[in-house]
């Protein structure tokens, strides 16, 4: 058995805020609203709530339980947890996914975190120099392209306040310093301060957005109410072309007028027609379920390996049921009640539905919103506050991504915090440097986010829930889950943990593979190679291949390290 480390959480609320901080990220404020509006608004929320109950909460509870169980037996890394739970010599190699995923995600996540910090600084500077505000959307688009260096590889490598590099250096060093301070004095302290600050700032921005009304009387349709309707209305009135592709969406408080306006719009475009989609019609779309389940899955940070590691530092009788529920509900509050009410109403009030529809996560967050904040009264102040919220959300997440690697290095190599931080800092600096250089079309970042930040997470989450329900055993797992529990989990979650969650997850994963790897569209039934597969095998893009090589190198390195470590004897069982 491995020796226990001295690190542990200082308080119950500390570990909850740390897990919530890991889960609350940029996606809560800019990915969720865009996805919800695109895939059915109110109808999306039905699939989202079901996914929360079927996969979000169960996988989270499974991770908390397995992590605490292995932590009591001296294992803190995901590889150690798997080794402890499954008496099979290959289990530790499967568990190493729990270090690869957060490590590689950290490499590109700090880049996005640096964007948030850079934008915060830009809005702070704009308070004193109004010429730095964005007058129109083209200005913010041009600034974004220049800042992130999407025009050419190496374009972001400038020591300039309006470029990525200086902010990336600050963010990277800050992460290493904080993680060096350890679980209690580093991660927990940052989250105990950061999460309440994040929520207070987000509520202030929310109040500002909800009181915007109709900023431009000449454009009465561009208002907060329309933005909220775009986000939350369960039925959609769309203008579509002859192939069924959406050209625009019409939102009006009066359904009859909404229909009439849509007809007027359709009449202006050759071949266009009006399509009304009710709740049931939207729920029949597999893409809606796939997107809702994916959003729950990634938003709650289940399947990363982070919760496993965090829970391993808990004490034997520490509650995990209420803690898991509290961390998940904190994430949901930030996502639904804050992110769901800020981003789209603000965007629609200044740019209309056409200005925000189909913008994507980065487009919405770093093109639309900067221009929106520039246009509103006291916009520089509120813009700085909003991007500070994004930065805090990002740093509490990126810190959590380092800990699984630290835990593995300390456990497998028997080295201390200083050595593990130095080693991990070197590896991640090389990876982040590669991503920071290869910024053309954000190819490296995008490739890694797809294959590691999505594909591998699906695999690890599926393995984890099967491990909990079947290998560890649902009876043992249920008993372990309730050890020291402050509240009891309702009995219907037992079959969900064993049967429904794995089946739902495998179905979603299968559909995801068909859609995003094979390129099959479940709505039309047509198939075409996905851009990520085409990058590798059709275009043979060198950056895409180097990104894959980076992941393989990290995986091989960690696997060799585990194989040579005496902490994971084959005769453990």
């Amino acid at each position: 058995m491995a020796a226990k480390t001295q690190d542990s959480w200082g308080s119950r609320i500390g570990v909850i805020l740390a897990v919530a901080g890991s889960a609350v990220g940029l996606g809560n404020f800019i990915r969720f609203p865009g996805q919800a509006a695109q895939f059915g608004g109110g109808a999306f929320m039905i699939a989202y709530a079901i996914s929360f109950l079927i996969i979000g909460l169960p996988i989270g509870w499974a991770e908390w339980t397995m992590g605490r169980y292995a932590g009591q037996r001296g294992y803190n890394s995901a590889a150690g947890v798997f080794h402890c739970l499954v008496p099979w010599r290959g289990s530790k190699y499967v568990g190493v996914l729990g270090a690869i995923i957060p490590l590689v995600i950290f490499m590109y996540y700090v880049v996005i975190e640096a964007w948030a910090l850079g934008y915060t600084a830009r809005f702070v500077r704009a308070m004193f120099d109004p010429t730095l505000q964005f007058a129109k959307i083209e200005d913010s688009q041009a600034f974004y392209a220049s800042f992130v260096g999407s025009a050419a590889d190496g374009a972001a490598m400038r020591m300039d306040l309006d470029a990525l590099l200086p902010w990336l250096v600050i963010v990277f060093v800050l992460n290493l310093v904080l993680i060096y301070r350890g679980i209690s004095a580093g991660i927990e302290k940052v989250c105990r301060i950061g999460m309440p600050v994040l929520m207070v700032l987000a509520v202030i921005v929310l109040v500002r957005v909800l009181t915007l009304g109709t900023p431009d009387p000449a454009k009465p349709d561009w208002n907060v109410s329309t933005g909220l309707g775009y986000m939350w209305n369960p039925g959609k009135t769309l203008v579509v072309d002859a192939d069924g592709r959406t050209l625009s969406e019409v939102v009006d408080p009066d359904p009859a007028r909404q229909f009439q306006r849509a007809h007027t719009l359709a009449a202006e475009t050759r071949g266009a027609r009006v399509e009304q989609r009710g709740v049931l019609a939207q729920l029949a779309d597999p893409n809606l379920w796939l997107t809702a389940a994916g959003q729950i899955f990634f938003s709650l940070s289940v399947g990363f390996g982070v919760i496993l590691v965090y829970a391993s530092y808990m004490k034997p009788k520490d509650d995990v049921v209420l803690s898991g529920l509290a961390a998940s509900s904190t994430n949901e509050f930030c996502e639904v009640a804050l992110g769901g009410l800020i981003t789209l109403p603000a965007g629609v009030a200044f740019l209309g539905i056409a200005g925000v529809a189909g913008q994507g996560t980065f487009g919405l967050g770093f093109n639309v919103l900067p221009m929106v904040f520039s246009a509103m009264p006291l916009g520089s102040l509120f813009g700085a506050m909003f991007f500070l919220v994004l930065f805090i959300a990002a740093i509490t997440s990126s810190l959590s991504m380092l800990q699984p690697g630290i835990a593995l290095l300390e456990e497998a190599l028997g080295i201390g915090r200083r050595g593990s931080v130095a080693l991990l800092g070197t590896v991640t600096a090389l990876g982040t440097g590669f991503i920071c250089w290869c910024t053309k079309d954000l190819k490296a970042l995008d490739t890694l986010d797809f294959w590691v930040g999505t594909f591998l997470i699906f695999i690890l989450a599926t393995v984890q829930i099967i491990l909990f329900g079947w290998a560890f055993g649902i009876d043992r797992g249920w008993e372990e889950l309730h050890r020291g529990a402050a509240i009891r989990v309702p009995g219907f979650f037992r079959p969900i943990l064993k049967y429904v969650c794995p089946a739902f997850l495998l179905t979603i994963f299968g559909m995801w593979l068909l859609k995003n790897v094979v390129g099959w569209d479940p709505a039309s039934g047509k198939a075409a190679p996905s851009p990520y597969v085409a990058d590798l095998f059709e275009h043979r893009n060198p950056v895409a291949w180097m990104s894959i090589a980076l992941v393989v190198t990290v995986a091989v390195g960690l696997a060799v390290m585990i194989a040579s470590s005496k902490r994971y004897p084959d005769d453990l069982a």
Partner: protein, 51 residues
């Protein structure tokens, strides 16, 4: 925004807000856990050698 959208928004936002508030209240009102478990000081790890 239509009444159906307003209803879904109020239910969604209300549910997550009440759940979040209840969880935090429940966590903060739980009795403190005794600190007698890890006995970490009895175990030697490389961290202990660091200054």
């Amino acid at each position: 925004m239509q009444p159906s959208g307003l209803f879904i928004m109020l239910v969604s936002v209300g549910t997550v807000t009440v759940l979040f508030a209840w969880c935090i209240w429940k966590v903060l009102t739980q009795p403190a856990v005794e600190m007698d478990h890890l006995h970490a000081a009895d175990l030697h790890t490389p961290d202990m050698d660091e200054p």
